[in-house]
Symmetry: D3
Subunit: 283 residues, 6 copies
């Protein structure tokens, strides 16, 4: 059960409207790695959590915070849209900035949402739940979360570069701080799990059932060996089971596949029909 506090978690007020920037800011609201994604990812991981209660509580704490981030961003976007012009064609002839706005705005802000934020990315593509994962495996999911906060921070920092509005930057400086904290937090949580289970997710599959040598070999599927030079091809495996090997010319373990001819009832073949397989009735 949830409760709403009417105050925003942080200030969200631009110095002046900027409908083109409003469109861009949508990316971190409703895009692949926007706030809706982390909000829903943490909430679903929490709701489904079958582990110790502290994990569930932690996940729901952060998920709940992210609902408030969706609120902040929506509020900011609505205000950036305040200046959207009514008649866009005629004014564009006078001023290249308006011409730019004409082209750069999301038309749905003026047609669909009444100058409000939309649950979409910067191209108007709707948020969808395939952006998120809640697998039940904590290590895998915390890595998904670390990834989400890393991609998210990269995007927020890029957006910070694309505005000089002090009000927008003020809000972004808080979101940046929280993304830094959340990266730290998932790093710490991963450290805690890896200390118990080791670094391979899931830990519970018996290693001897895998093809052993294939767990060590970096396979060079190209002509040329620049890929030989990285840490990923040299030194101990992070899971402690041996050392990386570099296979310059990987051989095929399998054969050329030969599929059976198609079943007649599929009507796929080159062949000698006509026939109906299920004779059934006359027609």
């Amino acid at each position: 059960m949830f409760i709403h506090m009417k105050e925003l978690q942080f200030r969200a007020k631009p110095e002046k409207p900027d409908p083109v920037y409003a469109r861009k800011l949508q990316e971190v609201l409703g895009g692949q790695y926007g706030e809706m994604s982390v909000m829903m990812q943490y909430l679903f991981q929490g709701f489904n959590c079958r582990a110790d209660r502290k994990y569930r509580d932690m996940l729901l704490d952060i998920g709940t915070e992210e609902i408030g981030h969706v609120e902040m961003l929506s509020t900011m976007i609505a205000q950036l849209l305040d200046g959207a012009p009514a008649d866009q064609v005629d004014e564009a002839a006078k001023d290249p900035l308006i011409a730019a706005a004409l082209g750069g705005m999301n038309p749905q802000h003026a047609i669909v949402s009444g100058l409000g934020a939309t649950p979409t990315d910067s191209n108007g593509y709707p948020w969808n739940s395939k952006y998120i994962i809640a697998s039940g495996n904590l290590l895998a999911d915390f890595r998904a979360n670390l990834n989400a906060e890393s991609q998210g921070l990269v995007q927020v920092v890029r957006l910070y570069e694309q505005t000089t509005d002090p009000g927008v930057r003020d809000m972004l400086s808080f979101m940046i701080a929280r993304d830094i904290l959340h990266q730290n937090q998932w790093l710490a949580a991963i450290e805690e799990i890896e200390a118990m289970e080791g670094p391979i997710a899931p830990a519970s599959f018996p290693r001897e059932r895998s093809v052993e040598e294939a767990t060590r070999q970096f396979m060079n599927f190209s002509v040329g060996e620049e890929s030989r030079e990285g840490r990923w091809a040299n030194g101990p495996l992070p899971d402690g089971t041996g050392n990386f090997e570099y296979v310059a010319n990987p051989a095929a373990y399998g054969d050329v596949p030969v599929l059976n001819p198609p079943a007649k009832h599929q009507h796929s073949t080159l062949g000698t029909g006509p026939y109906v397989v299920n004779e059934g009735i006359g027609k």
Copy 2:
């Protein structure tokens, strides 16, 4: 430029057909974390790579290997579908196993693809490119890759549990090995980047522009403090800038937001119309 070798990278031959399992196996072919996702993610990261050539080469080596995994899985699925019955209704009355198959098969395997693999997940949902990311930031992207291999391995292991076919398990034991290797590899690659840049992605944003205290505070957005007990709320921050703080009752930094009244040309208000803002012509 790419070249095809006709041999499969590994054996992909089931002992006997199993159309219901064919549907399930689609998940790791065309699902959110299937082989199509890692294939396309690594290829796009490689094609767009602006860093040292060894990274590009490494990304394209693995991306190229994954094309071959798509090939293996497709080959396996086509063979699992060999036994799909033609007339599904009548036979179902005789045998609960066929009845199960009737319900459990993906009907598109029998209607659309001619008993071949489809580029979809286990519910027939099409693969789409929002499953993948190529951000240009190596640390963020390698975390995306580590996540993809972790989620992918969890799914493959679950699928291993759901079959006893020795041919299927044989192929999965190879895929499991490669997922283990790839987790090790991304862990190693991340270690290499973090050694240069530290653990926050991106490293290049000046920390003093963020709200400093918010980079340290775990905020408890719930009633009750179970979340206090984890590593994420105690001890040093992984990025070395201080220690976690637990804020039991986080205060709002912001105010209650008040949006401006709607622009008249939006026709959103409660109010005193009728009016048209752009008078233009008569009608």
Copy 3:
């Protein structure tokens, strides 16, 4: 800003697991008219609200309640999935109920989500934000909300019919009550707005700019006149501007359209090329 209370708003505990029903229940969690839809629709309408504060508060109150409904349903689904069998093939031969479960389960519950709820509908289709609307026009949006609660209640009632588990029915009986309340509530809110603005949304467009007679005419676009018998074709218009008229054979106001030939640079025509319009450089 939001706070999480750890208790569920209502009991959500099935008497026994039922993985097939878990799949069905997903419809009202992550489907077109599921709880995720009303949650996100009310939250976005609230965040974007430019009208009197009572509307914003009311919208966010209900949106916040709906987050809790998502929590209840997720919790229920996780428990319904507790009994999902590990090896589905062999057991199916023994028992038609297991065979049914084999076919009727969502395979992603066992492969992707670790026997947890997914943010998808009963066919595994992901929730997306095109299910929702926040237009800024309160009358239009409250009608969207009334529709959502009506469709939602129809679906919940149908799901009530499809189970006899007392724990599931217990929870549904609460959700049904809330959907009834919410229909009442949107009816009341619409009544309040219509009392000020009349029943056409938006009220602010000057009626004289529309084609007057076309605002009264039910046009019979079929051979036969059964459609003449309803309230929609007889008596006063609900907005009080006249009476319905039934046009048995509607005439065209327009002509046969003739489009200009295609621009040469589009290479669409039947014609006399070859040509390149933008000569530019040699090739």
Copy 4:
């Protein structure tokens, strides 16, 4: 079975081309609440209609009219695109209006559709059938229809504000008239159904099976009580079963949920593996 009349239902001819406006007009052709949506919604409700024939006929009359609206809009858009420039880069340097067009056009109009309308919204997002509903419950569906006509009219009016082309406004003035008529019509149809069944959809669920008090209580899920002031929290319930009650501090009916530990075959746990649950064969 359907027949095509070659004349348009209404005039659809712009005074001059305007490729940027063509993009915007796509919203009410192929967007969430565009003409494709009402066309397909009414047709499917009609095709599936199990009630008295007058409902089916009425639904199909309007659905058939809407096919003609899709035709009008497509015709208009094709003509607005007539002026799209061939070489967009060089001309943009000369004229801010062309620069605006360059940015503001949908590139797919010039690359994909040959300067024709596309079945997409103003951001090029494809129409999809999750925009529509045909539930079989007439009251719920007529509310969906009233919502669609309300959202649609709000959008058309906004588009009317964004052009001064007399030919475009001429066509919109007809579409506005029909949307007004259709709102009136669905209001009338709803009135007819509610007179028989009451205002809750569906009427057929026995009220005593719902949690009675929860059908009356507006629950205030926020700190602060602005939401107390509306009609939705005061006075009689529209369905006549009592009065609204305002619950300032709603209590939880449920407990803190505790989920069972994960099944071993899911490999989700923190734990003591390795193990494979289905031992099956050696690997």
Copy 5:
């Protein structure tokens, strides 16, 4: 403008209900190559047609017929669903056929659509307009149409094999006939266009601007030359400009690509930050 005739174009009445088959039949209603696709593809090609009026009329004739096919299929599906059981769990224990139905039905038929057809495919995936094309180039579009009728007929024939219901087969025998006619018709229309323009679409691009030798060479991008044996690698080119050549070992025309280092404002690099490119204000 369109008119509805109340009679179906052909009989659509099953001998008995079959909810599992209803699900399958959805594929040719709302799937990638279902009747909704050809209906919308032909209508949009017709609405956008800038060529001689006979093409427009022909396209709209067939598009209009296809609306009637959507009607027939929807009617059939609604009747196949008549027998869907109310309480699916208990009855399944008694009868493997019901158990099969339980698994094989689309749950949305019983929850969402009130036992009516849905605008989706056999997996419940919604129809979307990216299934269709209207490019403005008649030759390209008629090939799209020939493809659609070919894929569609293959699917209908497969569905014919999967039922023995004489009523269903009766309707399918008509749909099969129309698909045969429509394949013939598009073959004839293509013949007419190719006679004027030759077989390459579009004909209007000056051939000398393409890399000449690359228009003749089949390139063997694999080890092994089975692909040498087909008509596609031997004999005259269908467009009459020469003969196919088989290139056993195609050489690269290009170099190894080297991308510029990332722009600093993208925060992508490994490097020496921190920096903000747009200094703007203090934060």
Copy 6:
């Protein structure tokens, strides 16, 4: 199994950056008929191929070539993006070309992908696998392929018209050549299959089971007979079974459909509830 050669198949280097054109070029990379589509379509047709090995090899040869086309286009797009400005607002005031770029760029190129290509079309819509087909029927699939190469070439030619950059045109002149070759190739492959099977796909359905006269009749579903004039309505059927007939006023074969009343457990009716069909337990 696949191998990567580091050289590009052809040169891909623009003379100068052009971020607006980068957006447009995305259409033929990740759009409906872009290179990702042909790549995945040919690979899946090849992986699933149950016919003679030469077909499989040919399909995989071309599919493998297309992976290299995705690589070329991605490389080109990354370089076109090199000039994307960091602070787009202020510079736009100075120069209409920058203003145009501001509006015309895909914001995700600057926020999400780090100035790299994205797996999306020119509107940022993600590639998805419903763009492709692999039906198992070679004739149907080769027609799909011919269509894809025809639509693709039309798009590439249009893009050629929209740039004068010699480097871009150089690459396009190669892609145009390959599209011409591939059209020739599919025409030749179709010729080979049709020589064996005739022109109707699939050939294996017994013609006598279809409604015979409906395989010959062009039905005029409009008022007016312009459609009478084409090859599609006159002369021999391409499959040699007779001549086209033109039916000026097609009659309905079917009746007015009457559906059964809704099942009570669906709660759809106008009616006399309340009732619950599955009484089960008390609530």
